[in-house]
């Protein structure tokens, strides 16, 4: 019996039952070994084997196990370019958000600018506020305001701070660390500015997305921002990460006495909870050279380690190239629906 599934780049691949189970076990073991967490149980592997072996095009959760969706990237998938898997639909942001509520039946949504990084968004602060304010009057579901902290934009040539990527190859470790410390202060200031200004616009929460994409300095800026926003304004904060491990571009930064470099999802969660986050979004990147079963089992192992200890809802990212989902701009529903359902049935996610 051959089972038709996909590789991490979304191309088709056929596996025998033995190959399927082996890939699932090896994927789970890869995560367990890295993060020193338990592998999936035999029953969980059995569920995944049955799921992938089923010849049906789509898969789903058991009725009653449905969860709520939060969304990053606003309506970029509707009206942006292929950079955001956008289909360039001729709709503006206000129409797009209402379509997500009414046509797609989304549980919540995010208002954000197409660029999606906080640094350019701060120049459009008044416009961003207005769109949140107007949409709050016409929609029913919860609306977050969202952006990527994207610390990389603060370094030359895009920003004014020296680029650590230029300094590190020269052996200028101290200078590389100092520029990150300075840049993270500027990033944090912008994140707070764009979060605080949404309180009086009626925002239901703030979504920080693709967090720590430039490593530990960016993660620190977000944790400090979250502490401020959750503590001072009371706005709920969702923190969605960018990868399974926090890269140590700085290497020495700490939050609450914990070194940020090298943290795995369940460790990131604990710091996000301490900072006051309301929802945590772990991210596990897809390896395009491995199969979807391998990638999904690996992602589930990381996510399960979070949901087993979480005090707040866990919304793992299951977009293109993360959470077991293949890396391709038009994701195949056979793969996406399986990753979606397994994140809930096995990963015990509270939302996606």
């Amino acid at each position: 019996m051959k089972i038709l599934t996909r590789m991490g780049d979304s191309s088709n691949v056929e596996l025998t039952l033995d190959e399927l189970r082996k890939d699932l076990e090896e994927g789970s073991e890869a995560a367990a070994k890295k993060a020193k967490i338990p592998i999936l149980t035999e029953n969980e592997f059995d569920y995944l084997v049955d799921m992938f072996a089923a010849p049906t095009r789509i898969w789903g959760v058991q009725r009653g196990n449905e969860v709520v969706m939060t969304k990053d990237g606003c309506v970029n998938a509707l009206n942006s370019s292929r950079m955001s898997s956008g289909v360039v639909a001729p709709v503006n942001r206000e129409v797009g958000v209402r379509l997500f509520e009414s046509m797609l039946g989304f549980d919540s949504m995010e208002v954000a600018h197409n660029d999606y990084s906080v640094k350019p968004q701060r120049f459009l602060k008044a416009l961003e506020q207005l769109h949140m304010e107007l949409l709050q009057e016409t929609t029913i579901f919860p609306l977050f305001y969202g952006f990527m902290p994207n610390l990389g934009l603060y370094y030359r040539p895009d920003g004014s701070f020296e680029n650590p990527s230029d300094l590190l190859p020269l052996g200028k470790i101290t200078e590389a660390r100092r520029t990150q410390e300075e840049a993270l202060e500027a990033c944090q200031k912008d994140c707070i500015l764009m979060s605080d200004c949404m309180l009086e616009m009626g925002a239901d929460g703030i979504d920080y997305d693709t967090v720590a994409s430039t490593g530990d300095a960016e993660f620190l800026a977000v944790l400090r921002t979250t502490e401020h926003v959750a503590g001072e304004t009371g706005l709920p904060v969702e923190i969605g990460m960018s990868s399974e491990m926090v890269l140590g571009f700085h290497g020495q930064l700490e939050y609450d006495g914990v070194r940020l470099a090298g943290l795995w999802p369940h460790q990131q969660l604990e710091l996000c909870e301490k900072a006051g986050a309301a929802i945590f979004g772990p991210v596990v990147n897809t390896n395009t050279r491995k199969t979807t079963p391998w990638n999904l089992a690996r992602a589930l192992t990381f996510v399960k380690a979070c949901t087993e200890i979480a005090k707040i809802p866990i919304h793992p990212n299951v977009g293109m190239g993360v959470g077991g989902v293949p890396m391709f701009e038009t994701p195949a529903v056979d793969a996406v629906t399986r990753c979606s359902a397994a994140m809930i049935e096995i990963g015990k996610a509270d939302g996606l």
Binding site: I58, M69, V87, G105, F106, P142, G202, V318, T330, D350
Partner: protein, 113 residues
């Protein structure tokens, strides 16, 4: 969730595992998650307030009628049923929570206690 074209990503997740937003009661459960409630607790809280079971909260057949009866907004266009901020005023009362946009609306209109 994340990036991917709407048909492949958003519709796929909706069919596989979503509560369905205002088609059912996904928006209400999402509001309780903002209060840091995990999914089981959030569903139980909303179900108790609506006097239904947690299973009912994802049922668009049951919830379509119940939402109209409670006047908390419906997914299909029904003249006279609460929409937008009006629906959220009623949701805040129903769930016994504060909704930021409702509080801001009350301040602006002088309706705040």
């Amino acid at each position: 969730m994340g990036t991917g074209d709407p048909a492949g990503m958003h519709m796929a997740h909706l069919l596989a595992s979503s509560m369905g937003g205002i088609r059912a009661a996904g928006d209400l459960v999402a509001r309780m998650q903002l209060k840091k409630m995990r999914i089981t607790e959030a569903k139980r809280y909303v179900a108790d307030k609506l006097h239904v079971t947690p299973l009912d909260l994802s049922d668009p057949t049951l919830m379509r009628g119940l939402r109209e009866e409670l006047d908390i907004g419906t997914i299909t266009g029904v003249p006279g049923v609460a929409k937008g901020i009006a629906a959220k005023v009623r949701i805040a009362e129903l769930l016994d929570i504060e909704i930021n946009s409702v509080e801001q609306f009350k301040k602006k209109t002088g309706l705040h206690n």
